[in-house]
Symmetry: C3
Subunit: 108 residues, 3 copies
């Protein structure tokens, strides 16, 4: 058993959940916030058998998309003079995934 | 040190917290949502010494109960014709627990 | 790659996020609740290269502060007679950190 911790954009979370159920993966969603852009995102916990990890990652890869986000520099660096002006483009990835080892899995 | 990640039903979370404190376990609760039934549930993070993991699991087992939930099939498969009719019984377990290895534990 | 799970007080979470970005660490925040005092706190997920774990812990240590909190004993032990009276001081630490091993790290 492995635990996949996948941080995805809110816009993809519903579709990801649907696609995971379709492929018979179980998952739990936790509301979260990105540290840099401070935008709401979604952290999935997906417990899967070791031999199924790559299949689950394929579902995530196919469902979650990279997007551009425009932010004003003063948002990122509040102490900078507001004269920095034009918005800056930031690429937000589709998913950031940590695959964690699991010593034991128990259901009651 | 091990980190227990336990997903339990909302209905049991308060009692579980009380029972953990009684047995001198420390815990943190995170709001979460079940992937399949989309109902609110609760994810506990419980850091325990390795030799105490089984005691903590016993507290969870005694406190968290399996329940039946009735859902209409169209909820589960929105694309299916609503003529599927009668609600379906789904068993929701008391707790789903992942015991994770911890390389290092630090308190400031 | 390691995953740091750090539970910090709400009061320090914004400053911690700023200090992490300054040192070029990436992080995700999840809202959480302390099991004992039932006060809102904040759980950070910080994925870092193994050789940077100590630097990240230093940022956390410098930013997050221990504080005292006064609670009435009846809050802690509702079944006790309210005659217990005077508030009790509880020390809440700056941060509780679990450093978890990561089998695989993937970004899409
Ligand atoms: N210090 C910095 N300097 C310049 N650009 C920066 C930056 N920190 C983040 N970014 C950029 O901003 C995007 C959004 O980051 P945010 O922290 O809001 O939202 C992040 C965060 O919630 C999570 N995340 C990414 N890496 C993480 C890590 N190592 N540990 C924990 N969470 C991570 O995944 C979300 C998307 O990350 P992604 O890398 O695709 O996309 C990132 C990245 O392109
Ligand atoms: N694809 C599917 N087909 C048919 N029936 C399905 C199904 N997925 C889930 N169920 C059933 O629905 C119940 C509720 O699942 P839900 O995903 O809402 O809520 C789940 C989810 O939040 C979490 N969970 C369970 N297994 C997990 C895993 N491997 N990884 C992450 N979270 C898991 O624990 C909650 C309770 O799970 P439990 O297994 O006791 O109970 C499950 C199970 O009996
Ligand atoms: N059974 C008990 N008897 C007497 N005093 C108790 C106690 N449980 C907790 N305390 C005290 O109350 C403070 C707040 O605990 P709380 O559970 O609300 O909030 C905790 C909890 O959310 C989290 N935490 C601490 N240890 C943990 C662990 N082993 N596993 C998971 N979360 C933990 O970090 C927060 C701060 O913990 P910290 O130890 O600095 O500070 C703790 C501790 O000083």
């Amino acid at each position: 058993m492995k635990l996949i911790v996948a941080i995805v954009q809110d816009k993809d979370s519903q579709q990801l959940q649907t696609n995971l159920v379709e492929k018979d993966f179980r998952a739990t969603q936790l509301p979260s916030t990105g540290g840099f852009l401070k935008a709401g995102n979604c952290t999935f916990l997906i417990g899967v058998e070791e031999e199924k990890v790559d299949d689950a990652l394929t579902v995530i890869k196919k469902t979650c998309h990279t997007r551009s986000q425009y932010v004003t520099p003063t948002f990122l660096m509040p102490e900078a003079a507001s004269s920095l002006g034009d918005p800056v483009e930031v690429q937000v990835g589709g998913a950031t995934c940590f695959i964690l080892p699991v010593d034991k899995f128990v259901r009651f």
